[in-house]
């Protein structure tokens, strides 16, 4: 008992001294599932919890010959979000295809936006622990469609439910202005408040209608160059975003202090129940098949 305590105290002291010398640079990508009645590019229902593969039509199934028709409500919803976050609304905005192969993506590409997003250059204000206020910049907000769900854990072949396929999402990308896990928490809290106040998203992170990915790097205070970042995905509650960021910041600092290097990778599967971030292998099958058209070249979800 005594020994354990000792170790903990030493570790905490070490962390404190590190934290004084380092700072974290955090940018968040928030996906909000919109409360439109129908999908982004067809008239299928977006209702959650229906019989698998029942909210479908030739368009969202990606049948040969079909074409997308943009849902007007989706545009109205994203414009509300853009105006609420002080963004500039583009008079001309274009969709692009993000191409990758996956069974829950019937067309072989996701319709998204890349070069000319509809909203850009905004900000939200958050409250810090000392009561002061800080502006977090919004790089862009764009429209895209959700993919279906692959279910791997049943004792059969992978099953695919495409009900969610084509459900409208907006992606809100922040500037790397966030410095602490607490600021990230405050930022997300603001986002939830805004989307629920506007009535465009129910803001429920546990059910996946609000999702958050984080880009994190650390650097010595006073440095201007950014460190190598990692991406943490699939965090399913506000509290665990905070926890995951803390964990990842400490991991990176410890690594650097030990003479190691941060490797740019994607960390998947931080879940509320297992409080640990697992660096999974890059899903090479999916990534190596990436290409872009309409100019979208980014790692997949």
């Amino acid at each position: 008992m005594t020994v354990t305590l000792k170790v903990t105290v030493i570790l905490n002291l070490k962390l404190m001294s590190w934290n004084e010398r380092y700072e974290a640079v955090i940018g968040l990508e928030v996906h909000a599932q919109l409360l439109t009645d129908s999908k982004a590019f067809c008239s299928c229902s977006t209702k959650f919890g229906n019989e698998p593969n029942s909210n479908v039509c030739p368009v969202c199934l990606g049948m040969p010959g079909v074409l997308p028709v943009l849902n007007k409500n989706l545009v109205e919803f994203i414009l509300k979000m853009g105006l609420a976050t002080h963004c500039t609304v583009a008079p001309r905005s274009i969709f692009a295809r993000k191409n990758y192969f996956y069974p829950d993506l019937p067309k072989g590409y996701q319709i998204s936006q890349y070069e000319e997003p509809i909203c850009a250059n905004g900000y939200v204000e958050i409250e810090l622990q000392d009561g002061s206020r800080k502006k977090i910049g919004i790089t862009r907000i764009h429209m895209e469609e959700d993919a279906g769900k692959s279910i791997h854990d049943l004792d059969v072949d992978t099953l695919v439910d495409v009900n969610r396929c084509g459900v409208p999402l907006i992606e809100i990308v922040s500037e790397p202005d966030i410095r602490t896990p607490h600021e990230a928490y405050q930022y997300l809290y603001q986002m939830k408040q805004i989307v629920t106040y506007l009535g465009i998203c129910d803001g429920n992170m546990e059910e996946g209608s609000l999702r958050c990915d984080a880009n994190i790097s650390v650097r010595l205070k006073g440095e201007t160059a950014l460190g190598t970042k990692t991406e943490v995905k699939n965090m399913n509650s506000f509290r665990f975003v905070e926890k995951a960021l803390e964990f990842e910041i400490n991991r990176q600092i410890a690594l650097i202090e030990d003479g190691g290097k941060v490797v740019r990778n994607i960390i998947m599967g931080f879940r509320a129940r297992n409080r640990r971030a697992n660096a999974l292998q890059r899903r090479s099958a999916r990534l190596s098949l990436l290409s872009r058209s309409g100019s979208r070249a980014r790692a997949c979800r």
């Binding site: 199934l61 990606g62 028709v69 191409n99 019937p106 695919v160 099958a285 058209s293």
Partner: protein, 470 residues
């Protein structure tokens, strides 16, 4: 072979019925099986449809195309029928819906008789790239009918349907129309809904009619053209009365002759035939002037960069996961993709998917795709400035007449060059029509192409109809 006018005359005189007409076409299809023009024929459904139209005719409620029998290129969806796109990968795929063009034809009381053979996914210029065997030219069966809408062109040429629908991404309606000696129209980009057309290159694809006369092509366009809520790229531009545009008058019409289209590589007989027709126009009061389209030499290169890029994305959905061909015996997801696509696609389709994936890949995107888009704009601007001074342009449709089967299959570049005069219209989005322009010494049809301003199909119909009937 009958045009719609003569069919209508026979119907009106009571000599025949839609059912009899459909029966006759079914007979011709059966007799001409060796030409391999059809991938599917609908005897019961077409006769049933014809009987319904006959009833409507006696009730006086028949639509404008009552008596017309149409064949549909197998890249366009007809509800409850297979849509193979000439590919093994869609061999058993049945479409759950009608393409907008098909439902508009049905609504106008045209009878749909079957689906025509084509180059796989409309990639080809000879209809030799079909997984279901090549289509033969009726005039000389050792030769090709052009492509990719070779089946539709042969169906019209051989009297297997009154008209046909084809698709044109880089000349796939006009070049086979030229090789078989029929009329083929590629409308303006956005003129006709593409909902239900299996996509090849989305910024190029157009659906259009093939027919024995310009008048019949104009009739079909009048029915299928116009905005469709299922296709956001279909333009909200009013559809004029195309038949009313066939005035038989070309006096004062300004006709441009692009000098770049009459240079080397053009067969002398083709050139002479086209120039003769230009003289006819001149004699009847048209003002003929030479124009220049300075970026013409980049047409084929630009087309093959942009169209293959779009194809690589559009064809990603054929992965064996949801419909179509799935290879047996794959151990994991990657193997299922690779084997299904390797076995399901033919050589030309794979070539274009690889080309397209390459030009879109990071590191090459700017050098190829973005550069290609810029050149495309220059080519478009060439046409827009030419059309400031002229009302239409006249060129040969293809540099040669039909070639022998097998002659160009191993030389893709030679094959691509047979579309050298047609792809520019797809890059620029303008309408183009090919009409018969006599035969060469071997008796093979020559085609003349008329290109028009965006949404001005009326003018090219007028010139085509004038040349056809003068």
């Amino acid at each position: 072979m009958k045009t719609f006018d003569s069919i209508r005359a026979e119907l009106d005189s009571g000599k025949t019925s839609c059912e009899k007409i459909t029966q006759e076409y079914l007979g011709v299809i059966e007799q001409g099986k060796r030409l391999n023009a059809f991938l599917a024929v609908f005897p019961e459904q077409s006769l049933e449809q014809a009987r319904t139209v006959d009833k409507k005719r006696s009730a006086g409620t028949a639509g404008p195309l009552a008596g017309m029998v149409v064949s549909i290129k197998d890249v366009i969806c007809v509800k409850d029928a297979r849509v193979t796109c000439g590919s093994k990968i869609l061999e058993h795929f049945v479409s759950p819906y009608d393409a907008t063009v098909v439902s508009r034809l049905k609504q106008a009381d045209a009878v749909i008789i079957g689906k025509t053979n084509m180059d796989e996914f409309a990639m080809g210029s000879s209809t030799e790239n079909s997984a279901y065997g090549r289509v033969k030219l009726p005039q000389d069966e050792s030769r090709v009918p052009g492509g990719s809408s070779g089946g539709s062109a042969v169906a019209v040429r051989a009297g297997m349907s009154t008209t046909a629908l084809g698709s044109d991404t880089g000349g796939s309606i006009r070049q086979p129309a030229s090789f078989t000696g029929v009329v083929g129209l590629k409308p303006t980009y956005g003129r006709v809904s593409r909902y239900g057309l299996v996509a090849f290159a989305s910024s190029f694809d157009a659906i259009g009619p093939l027919a024995l006369s310009t008048k019949d092509a104009a009739r079909v366009l009048g029915v299928i053209a116009g905005h469709d809520e299922h296709d956001s790229t279909s333009a909200e531009v009013p559809v004029p009365n195309y038949l009313g545009a066939l005035t038989k008058d070309v006096k004062g019409l300004r006709v441009g002759i692009p000098k770049e289209y009459f240079g080397s590589g053009l067969e002398a007989e083709v050139r002479d035939a086209v120039e003769k027709k230009i003289d006819v126009l001149r004699k009847h009061g048209a003002i003929i002037q030479e124009v220049s389209l300075p970026h013409s030499e980049y047409t084929i290169a630009t087309y093959y960069i942009l169209a293959t890029a779009e194809a690589s994305s559009n064809l990603a959905r054929y992965d064996g996961a949801r419909y179509g061909y799935r290879a047996k015996g794959a151990n994991d997801l990657m193997e299922m993709y690779v084997q299904s696509r390797s076995q399901g696609f033919g050589a030309e389709v794979k070539r274009r998917i690889m080309l397209g994936t390459y030009v879109l890949s990071s590191g090459y995107y700017d050098a190829y795709y973005r550069k290609g888009q810029k050149v495309r704009r220059l080519i478009q601007d060439d046409f827009i400035s030419a059309f400031k001074n002229v009302d239409c342009l006249i060129t040969p449709t293809s540099p040669s007449t039909s070639f022998k089967a097998g002659e160009k299959v191993d030389d893709p570049l030679q094959m691509y060059l047979s579309d050298i005069f047609t792809t520019s219209a797809n890059l620029a989005g303008i309408p183009g029509i090919s009409i018969p322009c006599g035969n060469d010494r071997q008796g093979l049809p020559i085609g003349l192409q008329i290109l028009g301003k965006h949404f001005d199909e009326a003018t090219i119909f007028r010139v085509a109809d004038f040349l056809e009937t003068t």
